[in-house]
Subunit: 215 residues, 2 copies
Amino acid sequence: MTISEENYIKVIYHLSLVSPKGVNTNAIAGMLDTKASSVTDMMKKLSDKDLVSYQKYQGVTLTEKGFHSAKMIVRKHRLWEVFLVDKLGFSWDEVHEIAEELEHIKSEQLINKLDAFLGFPAADPHGDPIPDAKGVIKKIEKQLLSEVEINASFHCVGVKDSSTDFLKYLDKQKIALGSVVKVIDKEDFDDTLTVEIDGKRLTISNKIANNLYVQ
Amino acid sequence: MTISEENYIKVIYHLSLVSPKGVNTNAIAGMLDTKASSVTDMMKKLSDKDLVSYQKYQGVTLTEKGFHSAKMIVRKHRLWEVFLVDKLGFSWDEVHEIAEELEHIKSEQLINKLDAFLGFPAADPHGDPIPDAKGVIKKIEKQLLSEVEINASFHCVGVKDSSTDFLKYLDKQKIALGSVVKVIDKEDFDDTLTVEIDGKRLTISNKIANNLYVQ
DNA sequence: TTTTATTTTTAGATTTGTCTAAATTTAATT
DNA sequence: AATTAAATTTAGACAAATCTAAAAATAAAA
């Protein structure tokens, strides 16, 4: 697979999680910042290689083969992110772009040795699960902070939105994966939350709460 | 720079060390397993980018800019090799190909953090020096084992030939960088050496001795 | 159910890096 | 110095991945 093909497969994988019945041409084009016509061209090629099933105007889905390839790319991306944060000292908002390059390095031996070196981590720095060497993904039990009951305690296990702005906000508020959150109160009008994080009281907008996973 | 451009620059760099007056089109084509006409095309492009100075039929040399780029690529290649051997447990004959891919990852911050993580190594697993962040290369004092005087002791500091076969031969004979070598005798007829390596006596052909650096 | 709007695909062009085959230049040999 | 050989460059073509503009199909609205 070329880097370009891998990028298409990866995007189709992520979009499939939201629309499992078939991914739209325009949606793919939007994610890859390319034109719909380019997507159509590539779908024909990926279909010839039996990585996607594609019928004109009907959207695409990954084949078994394409699904497995996608998970291997995601595995590589997330393992490299762990390496960058845990070993090299990058912060969690700096690693995505570098991992976008590293995920295309080919050697399977490399990624399995890296996995071992990192201690077989279950999740990347944003809390997203890492597929194992066979492609198995252990689902992480989690709820959005915006949806949990009041007066209960949780700990942060992941973010839904990994944008730099959101991650930097969390850093500023000293919220990290593993932090303990107790929901004190929820405002009826706009769903603003009052929470206690690692003992400190804090007010959190619904938009924030809607992007933070807890367990 | 594209990956292809980087590969050309790197090859010109290595060939320049042997022919500093100008590198031949055919020599480049040979190293990159491509055709002379492709090299000519690329030389025009690299010349337009001020990475090489090129005049028809006269061979090419690197400009200041090209020279610096080359050293940064070599730096990345060798640091990744150290990572693969020291941290992931690859053997020294397995790392070249993977490093060929890793050397094209773009982030400067990444490579400097990797350098620090590895403890600012001076040389890669084959004994080749690693340029620092500014491109400075500390020359490693070394001689070929085939050229040293008899009855003196040295230690192995590098290999000239990094082919799998040669490296595997050294592994088999338990010769590693750091091993202590004493030259006992040299056969006049074919320059075969009798040596003592880490205490064990061994007979070594001139071809071997001519690919092993000692200090 | 037409008509309109949106989405998707086709057709043809472009760029990058490569190739083959022919032409040109330089080097080597007689 | 003339001829032959080798190296290098040019010209034209091709595959991969992309684009624009036009055509076709599907979905939405009147």
